[in-house]
């Protein structure tokens, strides 16, 4: 007997046997499922007030966390925003805004970011006018804002920067 004849014989034998047992395996999967014991009912979630509160808190935290993460991973402080004053001073330990805007009280600035930029946001309701200001670096070192458009000389011939508000188009803050 040749090899291909043997192969043909085997195939025919398998088909014949399978047809002979067709009836026995027809509903096998249904019979197996029916034979399984009943499962307990699925867990039912009934939102209670504490659960709702927890979910709401989690949502708020996620929202705020997103903002924080966005701010951290962003390119840096929004120095192009006219409502933001910036100073590049990588080696400073602290920088404060001091001026007519703050009634000459020290207002700590945010920073530094990874580029050494310190920044502070101006109040949204800032009245139009001229405001003299400067930056106090490390508690005692007076620094003017190089981005200002006007400057005035004051005590000890130190320089105050002048903020003209609202800025005309194209002006740095």
């Amino acid at each position: 007997m040749h090899e291909h004849e043997l192969e043909q014989l085997i195939k025919e034998t398998i088909v014949q046997r399978a047809q002979a047992h067709q009836d026995r395996i027809a509903d096998l999967e249904y019979r197996v499922v029916d034979a399984l014991p009943d499962r307990p009912a699925a867990l039912e979630l009934r939102p209670t007030w504490p659960m709702r509160l927890a979910l709401a808190t989690a949502a708020i935290l996620l929202f705020l966390g997103g903002f924080w993460l966005g701010g951290t991973l962003s390119d840096g402080p929004p120095c192009a925003d006219p409502y933001v004053l910036c100073l590049v001073y990588p080696n400073a330990k602290s920088v404060s805004l001091v001026g007519q805007l703050t009634h000459w009280e020290r207002q700590p600035m945010h920073g530094p970011d990874r580029h050494g930029i310190w920044w502070i946001r101006l109040p949204r309701d800032l009245e139009p006018g001229r405001y003299e200001y400067g930056f106090m670096v490390d508690e005692y070192h007076w620094v003017h804002d190089p981005r200002a458009r006007e400057f005035v000389h004051t005590f000890d011939n130190k320089i105050n920067s002048v903020l003209i508000w609202p800025p005309s188009q194209g002006d740095a803050p």
């Binding site: 009280e105 020290r106 009245e127 006018g129 005692y140 004051t154 005590f155």
Partner: protein, 232 residues
């Protein structure tokens, strides 16, 4: 019932907050208490001067108290600290605007400038304010007077006149201190006009009126006076 109780409690808390805020409003008595605590030598003069300032609305109790409290934090001798209050008191008696003086005093204290230097600066600026006020008065710019400019009639308020005096004096001081040319009368006048225009408390009509009636040489003369005082 539960909601009603919560509403009532919230309302009570809000009322308490409003009352607390009212209680925090600064009064002249708070200012005088601060003067007393400083142990000033001439308390009656200061009370008299600042009382006039409060009544004339040239200074608020809040401004005066801030100044007094910042002076209290200074370690300088009391005579020097009192000097600051005294210069501003004199300006109030002379019916000069004092916002620039208070501002400069706060600036100096914030920067840690020696009180002698602050007092000198205040005295110089007070003299400039005085000269600008005299010039304006000579030109008919006085509180409660009415000016006519073209078709427009404008009654001069204390706020407008004081703001104009302050801005003009500030412009002259800044111009001279920046080391710019005293001989350039046109530039001096332009600087003054720019400062006047930047202050919203000064009506546009008044800015135009001043431009019309005060000449460049008159401003230059005042700038020269500022320079002379700085040389001393």
């Amino acid at each position: 019932m539960k909601y009603l109780l919560i509403s009532v409690l919230t309302a009570l808390l809000l009322s308490a907050n409003v009352l607390a805020l009212r209680g925090q409003q600064v009064t002249p008595q708070d200012v005088y208490s601060c003067f007393r605590a400083l142990n000033v030598s001439d308390l009656p003069f200061l009370i008299n001067a600042y009382d006039k300032g409060f009544k004339d609305r040239r200074i608020t109790p809040s401004m005066a108290l801030t100044l007094c409290q910042r002076l209290a934090q200074s370690a300088a001798p009391i005579g020097l600290r009192e000097g600051v209050l005294r210069v501003i008191g004199l300006a109030l008696i002379e019916e000069l605007p004092v916002t620039m003086l208070v501002d400069k005093a706060l600036e100096g204290l914030a920067k840690g400038v020696a009180l002698e230097a602050i007092n000198d600066e205040l005295a110089q600026r007070k003299a400039t304010l005085s000269e600008v006020k005299a010039l304006f008065a000579h030109k008919g710019i006085r509180i409660s007077l009415t000016i006519r400019f073209g078709a427009v009639t404008l009654e001069l308020t204390l706020e407008a006149v004081d703001a104009a005096i302050t801005e003009a004096a500030r412009a002259l001081e800044d111009y001279v201190r920046a080391g710019q040319r005293i001989e350039d009368a046109t530039a001096i006048k332009a600087t003054v006009q720019r400062y006047l225009a930047s202050n919203r408390a000064i009506p546009v009509t008044l800015v135009s009126f001043i431009e019309q009636i005060v000449s460049a040489p008159e401003w230059a003369q005042l700038a020269q006076n500022v320079a002379n005082r700085l040389k001393k």
